[in-house]
Symmetry: C2
């Protein structure tokens, strides 16, 4: 192969089922050894948030939750178990509407249907909340892996999300460490040498989507994908995931309006 060719390799890292309280870094180390893979500088670990959250004991038994009045009424409105709805209200920063099965929330600063709470891959009668602080989790895991393998790594806590008017889930980074999650390409030029008007590359989200090709949503027991060779900018910190305002969002610009009208109606 021509050495000028850019290429990326991805490895699905199978582990035993991660259970509450497990040490996810130890599990990864064992699986990497089994697989005969040694991390090198620039490798990025994409971790499924459900595995990280489970290891962090973020599992809740629904029978232990008493839904309040608001959870009862919103649960009925959106067709969500009122006990789960109670957890959604506790976990989210903001709730602003929804459709059957999905209440739209901002949780830990990120748009998350149902506050990211999920019954999939949780023990029967339980749900998994999002990791307490995905950015901090990714940093802790990165530092431990970097020390173990003596190299500079990236770590992403990844989730899946539907896209507007599309069927199917793609990837989304909840928290990252060790690289620049969104690349600003505004100072660069197109193939004709014209400056690009406005272009950011969602490197972290693209890495999660790439990883989901090997991870799957179901029981594949592949909670981690190692990505090698991605042309990203490594940094020794844990940048926040940049977001945009509702007003500036192509999709939500309109929703704001409908919300304003709702509020006005309530005032009448």
């Amino acid at each position: 192969m021509n050495p000028k060719i850019t290429s990326i390799q991805m490895f699905g890292i199978e582990t035993p089922i991660i259970r509450a309280g497990d040490d996810i870094v130890q599990a990864l180390e064992a699986s990497l050894q089994d697989a005969g893979i040694s991390p090198v500088d620039g490798d990025v670990f994409v971790l499924a948030e459900s595995a990280v959250a489970t290891a962090e004991n973020r599992i809740v038994e629904l029978a232990s939750i008493k839904p309040g009045e608001k959870a009862l009424s919103l649960g009925e409105k959106y067709g969500i178990d009122p006990r789960e709805m109670e957890l959604v209200l506790q976990e989210c920063d903001e709730l602003f509407g929804g459709v059957p099965g999905a209440a739209l929330t901002i949780t830990k600063g990120i748009l998350s249907p149902n506050a990211g709470i999920d019954a999939s891959n949780a023990p029967d009668g339980h749900v998994v909340l999002l990791p307490e602080d995905p950015r901090k989790s990714s940093e802790t895991i990165r530092k431990r892996l970097e020390q173990r393998y003596s190299c500079k790594l990236g770590v992403i806590i990844g989730d899946s999300r539907t896209q507007p008017l599309r069927l199917g889930c793609t990837g989304l980074a909840l928290g990252i460490s060790g690289f620049v999650p969104v690349e600003d390409a505004r100072g660069t030029f197109d193939i004709y040498g014209k400056p690009l008007r406005l272009t950011y590359k969602a490197a972290a989200d693209n890495l999660v989507s790439a990883a989901e090709l090997l991870m799957g949503e179901a029981g594949e027991r592949v909670p981690c994908v190692l990505v090698r060779g991605a042309p990203i900018q490594m940094v020794d910190e844990s940048p926040e995931m940049p977001t945009i305002s509702m007003e500036g969002c192509m999709y939500f610009g309109n929703i704001i309006k409908s919300r304003k009208e709702d509020t006005e109606k309530e005032k009448q």
Copy 2:
């Protein structure tokens, strides 16, 4: 490496600048040969829609366009060149609101800001429309590549798109051929053996997002990424990209409402 490990390889295929009327398959064949890469069964070619559209002569000189009254008023409303706005109106199936710089449309059945019309990577004073029929283009390209390399391939015409409340572009498949674009995982089970409630995997969109790690948005001259080893389901046809209704969409469920109110207001 343990042979049980699942892995994916991706290669960025650099080509000379694709110009109007070029044969994109010939350009790819030459670049693959230069790179020393021979496609094999199951390989997927992700092609940038701008390169495919350019080869298909979908370039329009803005000076040749006379904007109508509607284009003038909508152009002003959304801060878009009225000549480009005229093309947006001609190309889209439906336009339903927007924010400064982006009119939200459905074009060729797919949610496309500004009908997918783009001035980036177009000659000065010109814009590139979407390929006339992305699904058909992907099929034609696939059949020619399959014949040339005597193997079963997938082809995607990919575009980039922002996500709700996120900064940065990720990948989206406009048209595909040779594999199942969205995998239905509803009959499968989670790691605890419980049936998954509702889960589709957007394999095609994830492949485009993965490819964008090597493609970039700017002048990298990498209009194609070859993905090898992705665990997708190959088929000898060109399935439509499945979409969901506005009513069932987590994000647009609310927008519909605001549109209804707009319509009601206009009637008053």
